[in-house]
Symmetry: C2
Subunit: 171 residues, 2 copies
Amino acid sequence: MPTAPPPFDEFDHRLLALLQADAQRTLTELGDTVGLSASAVQRRIKRYRESGLMRMVGVLDIAQLANVTLATVVVALERESARQHAALHARLRAAPEVQQCYSLAGDWDYLVILATTGLAHTREVVERLFDADKNLKRYETRLVFDVVKRGLDLPTRRRSRGAKDGVHGKK
Amino acid sequence: MPTAPPPFDEFDHRLLALLQADAQRTLTELGDTVGLSASAVQRRIKRYRESGLMRMVGVLDIAQLANVTLATVVVALERESARQHAALHARLRAAPEVQQCYSLAGDWDYLVILATTGLAHTREVVERLFDADKNLKRYETRLVFDVVKRGLDLPTRRRSRGAKDGVHGKK
DNA sequence: TATGAAATTCCCTAAAC
DNA sequence: GTTTAGGGAATTTCATA
Protein backbone atom coordinates (compact mmCIF):
# COMPACT_ATOMS: atom_id res chain seq x y z
CA MET A 1 0.00 0.00 0.00
CA PRO A 2 1.43 3.38 -0.95
CA THR A 3 2.13 5.96 1.68
CA ALA A 4 -0.28 8.79 2.31
CA PRO A 5 -0.33 11.53 -0.33
CA PRO A 6 2.02 14.29 0.80
CA PRO A 7 0.49 17.75 0.61
CA PHE A 8 2.49 20.48 -1.06
CA ASP A 9 3.51 23.62 0.73
CA GLU A 10 4.27 26.93 -0.90
CA PHE A 11 7.89 25.94 -1.48
CA ASP A 12 6.83 22.83 -3.34
CA HIS A 13 4.48 24.76 -5.58
CA ARG A 14 7.12 27.26 -6.52
CA LEU A 15 9.83 24.68 -6.99
CA LEU A 16 7.65 22.45 -9.13
CA ALA A 17 6.65 25.39 -11.26
CA LEU A 18 10.28 26.38 -11.75
CA LEU A 19 11.36 22.85 -12.54
CA GLN A 20 8.58 22.32 -15.04
CA ALA A 21 9.73 25.43 -16.86
CA ASP A 22 13.45 24.69 -16.64
CA ALA A 23 15.13 21.81 -14.90
CA GLN A 24 18.60 23.08 -15.69
CA ARG A 25 19.01 25.50 -12.83
CA THR A 26 21.30 24.66 -9.95
CA LEU A 27 20.06 23.96 -6.47
CA THR A 28 21.54 27.24 -5.30
CA GLU A 29 19.71 29.22 -7.96
CA LEU A 30 16.47 27.47 -7.14
CA GLY A 31 17.00 28.04 -3.45
CA ASP A 32 17.70 31.72 -3.92
CA THR A 33 14.56 32.07 -6.01
CA VAL A 34 12.21 30.42 -3.58
CA GLY A 35 14.01 31.44 -0.39
CA LEU A 36 15.45 28.13 0.70
CA SER A 37 18.90 26.67 1.17
CA ALA A 38 20.33 24.49 -1.55
CA SER A 39 20.18 21.49 0.75
CA ALA A 40 16.52 21.94 1.44
CA VAL A 41 15.85 22.23 -2.27
CA GLN A 42 17.90 19.13 -2.92
CA ARG A 43 15.99 17.11 -0.37
CA ARG A 44 12.69 18.15 -1.87
CA ILE A 45 13.70 17.38 -5.42
CA LYS A 46 15.02 14.04 -4.28
CA ARG A 47 11.60 13.31 -2.85
CA TYR A 48 9.88 14.35 -6.06
CA ARG A 49 12.05 12.00 -8.06
CA GLU A 50 12.00 9.03 -5.73
CA SER A 51 8.24 9.18 -5.32
CA GLY A 52 7.89 9.18 -9.09
CA LEU A 53 6.21 12.56 -9.02
CA MET A 54 8.78 14.16 -11.28
CA ARG A 55 11.22 13.04 -13.91
CA MET A 56 13.59 15.11 -16.01
CA VAL A 57 13.46 14.95 -19.78
CA GLY A 58 15.02 16.76 -22.69
CA VAL A 59 12.59 18.69 -24.89
CA LEU A 60 13.66 19.41 -28.44
CA ASP A 61 12.83 22.57 -30.35
CA ILE A 62 10.61 21.37 -33.14
CA ALA A 63 11.44 24.44 -35.21
CA GLN A 64 15.02 23.22 -35.52
CA LEU A 65 13.96 19.77 -36.61
CA ALA A 66 13.16 19.75 -40.29
CA ASN A 67 11.18 16.80 -41.58
CA VAL A 68 9.20 16.40 -38.41
CA THR A 69 5.49 16.10 -39.01
CA LEU A 70 2.85 16.34 -36.33
CA ALA A 71 -0.68 15.07 -36.75
CA THR A 72 -3.74 14.63 -34.59
CA VAL A 73 -6.11 11.69 -34.82
CA VAL A 74 -9.47 11.39 -33.12
CA VAL A 75 -10.75 7.87 -32.75
CA ALA A 76 -14.10 6.23 -32.00
CA LEU A 77 -14.25 2.55 -31.10
CA GLU A 78 -16.89 0.17 -32.37
CA ARG A 79 -17.50 -1.55 -29.08
CA GLU A 80 -16.73 -0.22 -25.66
CA SER A 81 -15.31 -3.36 -24.14
CA ALA A 82 -12.47 -3.02 -21.71
CA ARG A 83 -10.45 -5.56 -23.64
CA GLN A 84 -10.57 -3.53 -26.83
CA HIS A 85 -9.46 -0.43 -24.99
CA ALA A 86 -6.61 -2.19 -23.25
CA ALA A 87 -5.38 -3.62 -26.53
CA LEU A 88 -5.45 -0.21 -28.16
CA HIS A 89 -3.66 1.36 -25.20
CA ALA A 90 -0.87 -1.17 -25.39
CA ARG A 91 -0.48 -0.67 -29.11
CA LEU A 92 -0.37 3.11 -28.85
CA ARG A 93 2.01 3.13 -25.91
CA ALA A 94 4.37 0.84 -27.75
CA ALA A 95 4.44 2.97 -30.90
CA PRO A 96 7.24 5.55 -30.78
CA GLU A 97 5.36 7.77 -33.20
CA VAL A 98 2.51 8.14 -30.72
CA GLN A 99 3.55 11.13 -28.67
CA GLN A 100 0.38 11.53 -26.68
CA CYS A 101 -2.95 9.79 -26.27
CA TYR A 102 -5.94 10.87 -24.21
CA SER A 103 -9.28 9.18 -23.73
CA LEU A 104 -12.10 11.65 -24.17
CA ALA A 105 -15.64 12.29 -23.05
CA GLY A 106 -18.15 12.61 -25.85
CA ASP A 107 -18.43 11.46 -29.43
CA TRP A 108 -14.78 10.58 -29.84
CA ASP A 109 -13.06 8.04 -27.62
CA TYR A 110 -9.44 9.10 -28.07
CA LEU A 111 -7.26 11.92 -29.16
CA VAL A 112 -3.87 10.81 -30.44
CA ILE A 113 -0.96 13.04 -31.33
CA LEU A 114 1.59 11.62 -33.75
CA ALA A 115 5.14 12.79 -34.33
CA THR A 116 6.68 11.32 -37.47
CA THR A 117 9.46 12.00 -39.94
CA GLY A 118 7.17 13.03 -42.77
CA LEU A 119 3.79 12.69 -44.41
CA ALA A 120 4.47 9.25 -45.80
CA HIS A 121 5.51 8.12 -42.37
CA THR A 122 2.37 9.56 -40.85
CA ARG A 123 0.26 7.71 -43.37
CA GLU A 124 2.08 4.47 -42.64
CA VAL A 125 1.54 4.82 -38.92
CA VAL A 126 -2.12 5.77 -39.20
CA GLU A 127 -2.80 2.78 -41.42
CA ARG A 128 -0.92 0.47 -39.14
CA LEU A 129 -2.44 1.72 -35.89
CA PHE A 130 -5.96 2.64 -36.90
CA ASP A 131 -6.92 1.45 -40.34
CA ALA A 132 -6.02 -2.14 -39.55
CA ASP A 133 -8.09 -2.18 -36.36
CA LYS A 134 -11.44 -3.87 -36.88
CA ASN A 135 -12.80 -2.50 -33.63
CA LEU A 136 -12.38 1.05 -34.76
CA LYS A 137 -15.61 2.64 -35.81
CA ARG A 138 -14.19 5.83 -37.16
CA TYR A 139 -11.15 8.05 -37.07
CA GLU A 140 -10.18 11.43 -38.45
CA THR A 141 -6.66 12.62 -39.11
CA ARG A 142 -5.69 16.26 -39.05
CA LEU A 143 -2.25 17.51 -39.94
CA VAL A 144 -0.57 20.10 -37.77
CA PHE A 145 0.50 23.23 -39.61
CA ASP A 146 2.23 25.00 -36.80
CA VAL A 147 3.03 24.72 -33.13
CA VAL A 148 1.75 27.68 -31.19
CA LYS A 149 2.58 26.28 -27.77
CA ARG A 150 4.04 23.04 -26.59
CA GLY A 151 4.59 21.78 -23.08
CA LEU A 152 3.45 19.38 -20.39
CA ASP A 153 3.15 21.77 -17.48
CA LEU A 154 0.58 20.88 -14.88
CA PRO A 155 -0.82 22.98 -12.04
CA THR A 156 0.08 21.73 -8.58
CA ARG A 157 -2.23 23.81 -6.47
CA ARG A 158 -5.48 22.30 -5.41
CA ARG A 159 -8.01 24.92 -6.27
CA SER A 160 -7.89 28.63 -5.65
CA ARG A 161 -11.41 29.92 -5.84
CA GLY A 162 -11.74 33.14 -7.75
CA ALA A 163 -8.40 32.53 -9.40
CA LYS A 164 -9.33 34.71 -12.32
CA ASP A 165 -7.21 37.69 -13.27
CA GLY A 166 -7.01 40.52 -10.85
CA VAL A 167 -9.09 38.99 -8.13
CA HIS A 168 -6.27 38.49 -5.70
CA GLY A 169 -5.56 41.94 -4.41
CA LYS A 170 -2.46 41.11 -2.41
CA LYS A 171 0.84 42.94 -2.78
CA MET B 1 21.97 35.22 -39.93
CA PRO B 2 22.03 31.91 -38.10
CA THR B 3 24.75 29.43 -38.77
CA ALA B 4 24.15 26.50 -41.08
CA PRO B 5 21.98 23.69 -39.68
CA PRO B 6 24.29 21.06 -38.23
CA PRO B 7 23.50 17.55 -39.41
CA PHE B 8 23.20 14.86 -36.79
CA ASP B 9 25.44 11.85 -36.74
CA GLU B 10 24.57 8.51 -35.20
CA PHE B 11 25.84 9.63 -31.80
CA ASP B 12 23.53 12.63 -31.83
CA HIS B 13 20.52 10.53 -32.71
CA ARG B 14 21.16 8.09 -29.92
CA LEU B 15 21.97 10.78 -27.37
CA LEU B 16 18.92 12.84 -28.21
CA ALA B 17 16.72 9.77 -27.96
CA LEU B 18 18.19 8.92 -24.57
CA LEU B 19 17.86 12.47 -23.30
CA GLN B 20 14.28 12.82 -24.44
CA ALA B 21 13.44 9.69 -22.48
CA ASP B 22 15.45 10.60 -19.39
CA ALA B 23 17.67 13.59 -18.87
CA GLN B 24 18.81 12.43 -15.46
CA ARG B 25 21.60 10.10 -16.48
CA THR B 26 25.20 11.08 -15.94
CA LEU B 27 27.57 11.87 -18.78
CA THR B 28 29.48 8.68 -18.05
CA GLU B 29 26.37 6.55 -18.28
CA LEU B 30 25.36 8.20 -21.52
CA GLY B 31 28.84 7.79 -22.90
CA ASP B 32 28.96 4.13 -22.02
CA THR B 33 25.60 3.59 -23.69
CA VAL B 34 26.44 5.25 -26.97
CA GLY B 35 30.16 4.45 -26.99
CA LEU B 36 31.63 7.85 -26.34
CA SER B 37 33.67 9.45 -23.59
CA ALA B 38 32.00 11.61 -20.99
CA SER B 39 33.80 14.62 -22.41
CA ALA B 40 32.46 14.07 -25.88
CA VAL B 41 28.96 13.61 -24.55
CA GLN B 42 29.23 16.74 -22.47
CA ARG B 43 30.37 18.79 -25.45
CA ARG B 44 27.48 17.57 -27.56
CA ILE B 45 24.88 18.25 -24.91
CA LYS B 46 26.36 21.68 -24.39
CA ARG B 47 25.87 22.33 -28.09
CA TYR B 48 22.29 21.12 -27.97
CA ARG B 49 21.52 23.47 -25.15
CA GLU B 50 23.36 26.51 -26.42
CA SER B 51 21.85 26.21 -29.87
CA GLY B 52 18.43 26.06 -28.29
CA LEU B 53 17.83 22.63 -29.72
CA MET B 54 17.24 21.08 -26.33
CA ARG B 55 16.12 22.22 -22.94
CA MET B 56 15.61 20.18 -19.79
CA VAL B 57 12.28 20.24 -18.02
CA GLY B 58 10.63 18.43 -15.16
CA VAL B 59 7.59 16.35 -16.09
CA LEU B 60 5.09 15.63 -13.36
CA ASP B 61 3.15 12.40 -13.02
CA ILE B 62 -0.43 13.46 -13.56
CA ALA B 63 -1.67 10.37 -11.72
CA GLN B 64 -0.18 11.75 -8.50
CA LEU B 65 -1.79 15.13 -8.95
CA ALA B 66 -5.37 15.02 -7.79
CA ASN B 67 -7.59 17.84 -8.94
CA VAL B 68 -5.88 18.25 -12.26
CA THR B 69 -8.28 18.37 -15.16
CA LEU B 70 -7.28 18.08 -18.78
CA ALA B 71 -9.47 19.18 -21.65
CA THR B 72 -9.16 19.55 -25.39
CA VAL B 73 -10.67 22.38 -27.40
CA VAL B 74 -10.91 22.59 -31.16
CA VAL B 75 -11.36 26.08 -32.52
CA ALA B 76 -12.47 27.59 -35.84
CA LEU B 77 -11.91 31.28 -36.50
CA GLU B 78 -14.44 33.54 -38.19
CA ARG B 79 -11.98 35.29 -40.44
CA GLU B 80 -8.59 34.07 -41.46
CA SER B 81 -6.67 37.30 -41.07
CA ALA B 82 -3.11 37.12 -39.85
CA ARG B 83 -3.87 39.70 -37.20
CA GLN B 84 -6.60 37.60 -35.63
CA HIS B 85 -4.34 34.58 -35.53
CA ALA B 86 -1.47 36.49 -33.99
CA ALA B 87 -3.74 37.88 -31.32
CA LEU B 88 -5.05 34.46 -30.48
CA HIS B 89 -1.53 33.02 -30.37
CA ALA B 90 -0.40 35.65 -27.93
CA ARG B 91 -3.39 35.09 -25.71
CA LEU B 92 -2.96 31.34 -25.64
CA ARG B 93 0.76 31.47 -25.07
CA ALA B 94 0.28 33.81 -22.16
CA ALA B 95 -2.32 31.63 -20.47
CA PRO B 96 -0.72 29.17 -18.05
CA GLU B 97 -3.67 26.81 -18.41
CA VAL B 98 -2.94 26.38 -22.10
CA GLN B 99 -0.53 23.49 -22.17
CA GLN B 100 -0.38 22.99 -25.90
CA CYS B 101 -1.77 24.61 -29.02
CA TYR B 102 -1.46 23.46 -32.61
CA SER B 103 -2.79 25.04 -35.78
CA LEU B 104 -4.49 22.45 -37.95
CA ALA B 105 -5.27 21.67 -41.54
CA GLY B 106 -8.95 21.17 -42.28
CA ASP B 107 -12.21 22.27 -40.77
CA TRP B 108 -10.76 23.27 -37.42
CA ASP B 109 -8.09 25.92 -37.11
CA TYR B 110 -6.63 25.00 -33.73
CA LEU B 111 -6.36 22.24 -31.23
CA VAL B 112 -5.80 23.47 -27.69
CA ILE B 113 -5.02 21.31 -24.67
CA LEU B 114 -5.88 22.79 -21.30
CA ALA B 115 -4.56 21.76 -17.91
CA THR B 116 -6.54 23.23 -15.03
CA THR B 117 -7.25 22.64 -11.38
CA GLY B 118 -10.80 21.42 -11.91
CA LEU B 119 -13.92 21.58 -13.99
CA ALA B 120 -14.91 25.01 -12.79
CA HIS B 121 -11.49 26.28 -13.66
CA THR B 122 -11.70 24.73 -17.11
CA ARG B 123 -14.99 26.43 -17.70
CA GLU B 124 -13.58 29.77 -16.56
CA VAL B 125 -10.63 29.47 -18.90
CA VAL B 126 -12.68 28.38 -21.88
CA GLU B 127 -15.04 31.28 -21.43
CA ARG B 128 -12.23 33.74 -21.02
CA LEU B 129 -10.14 32.48 -23.93
CA PHE B 130 -12.73 31.39 -26.44
CA ASP B 131 -16.26 32.47 -25.57
CA ALA B 132 -15.26 36.10 -25.26
CA ASP B 133 -13.55 36.14 -28.66
CA LYS B 134 -15.76 37.67 -31.33
CA ASN B 135 -13.59 36.34 -34.12
CA LEU B 136 -14.21 32.78 -33.08
CA LYS B 137 -16.68 31.05 -35.30
CA ARG B 138 -16.98 27.87 -33.32
CA TYR B 139 -15.29 25.77 -30.70
CA GLU B 140 -15.86 22.40 -29.10
CA THR B 141 -14.61 21.33 -25.70
CA ARG B 142 -13.95 17.71 -24.80
CA LEU B 143 -12.91 16.60 -21.35
CA VAL B 144 -10.10 14.14 -20.93
CA PHE B 145 -11.01 11.02 -19.01
CA ASP B 146 -7.63 9.38 -18.88
CA VAL B 147 -4.09 9.79 -20.05
CA VAL B 148 -2.93 6.81 -22.07
CA LYS B 149 0.40 8.31 -23.11
CA ARG B 150 2.03 11.65 -22.52
CA GLY B 151 5.28 13.00 -23.84
CA LEU B 152 6.93 15.42 -26.24
CA ASP B 153 9.41 13.09 -27.90
CA LEU B 154 10.32 13.95 -31.46
CA PRO B 155 12.17 11.89 -34.06
CA THR B 156 15.54 13.27 -35.05
CA ARG B 157 16.30 11.17 -38.09
CA ARG B 158 15.50 12.61 -41.44
CA ARG B 159 13.64 9.84 -43.15
CA SER B 160 14.43 6.17 -43.28
CA ARG B 161 12.57 4.74 -46.23
CA GLY B 162 10.91 1.46 -45.46
CA ALA B 163 11.06 2.24 -41.78
CA LYS B 164 8.19 -0.11 -41.08
CA ASP B 165 8.63 -3.05 -38.75
CA GLY B 166 11.01 -5.73 -39.83
CA VAL B 167 12.02 -4.22 -43.11
CA HIS B 168 15.57 -3.40 -42.12
CA GLY B 169 17.33 -6.70 -42.31
CA LYS B 170 20.66 -5.61 -40.88
CA LYS B 171 22.25 -7.35 -37.94
C1' DT C 1 37.51 19.32 -36.17
C1' DA C 2 36.33 16.19 -32.69
C1' DT C 3 38.12 12.86 -29.66
C1' DG C 4 39.74 10.73 -24.92
C1' DA C 5 42.23 11.26 -20.61
C1' DA C 6 43.61 13.98 -16.97
C1' DA C 7 43.08 18.07 -14.05
C1' DT C 8 40.16 21.41 -12.13
C1' DT C 9 36.05 23.40 -10.57
C1' DC C 10 31.64 23.25 -9.13
C1' DC C 11 27.60 21.11 -7.74
C1' DC C 12 25.11 17.63 -5.66
C1' DT C 13 24.64 14.79 -1.61
C1' DA C 14 24.55 13.45 2.98
C1' DA C 15 26.24 14.36 7.34
C1' DA C 16 25.55 16.94 11.79
C1' DC C 17 23.25 20.62 13.99
C1' DG D 1 15.07 24.09 8.13
C1' DT D 2 20.47 25.54 7.77
C1' DT D 3 25.39 24.99 7.83
C1' DT D 4 29.26 22.11 6.97
C1' DA D 5 32.15 18.77 4.85
C1' DG D 6 33.02 15.23 1.35
C1' DG D 7 32.54 12.69 -2.94
C1' DG D 8 31.13 12.84 -7.52
C1' DA D 9 29.88 14.74 -11.58
C1' DA D 10 30.27 18.46 -14.94
C1' DT D 11 33.49 21.24 -17.26
C1' DT D 12 37.97 22.72 -19.01
C1' DT D 13 42.52 21.77 -20.58
C1' DC D 14 45.53 19.44 -23.44
C1' DA D 15 47.66 16.10 -26.44
C1' DT D 16 46.31 13.65 -30.41
C1' DA D 17 44.47 11.45 -34.82
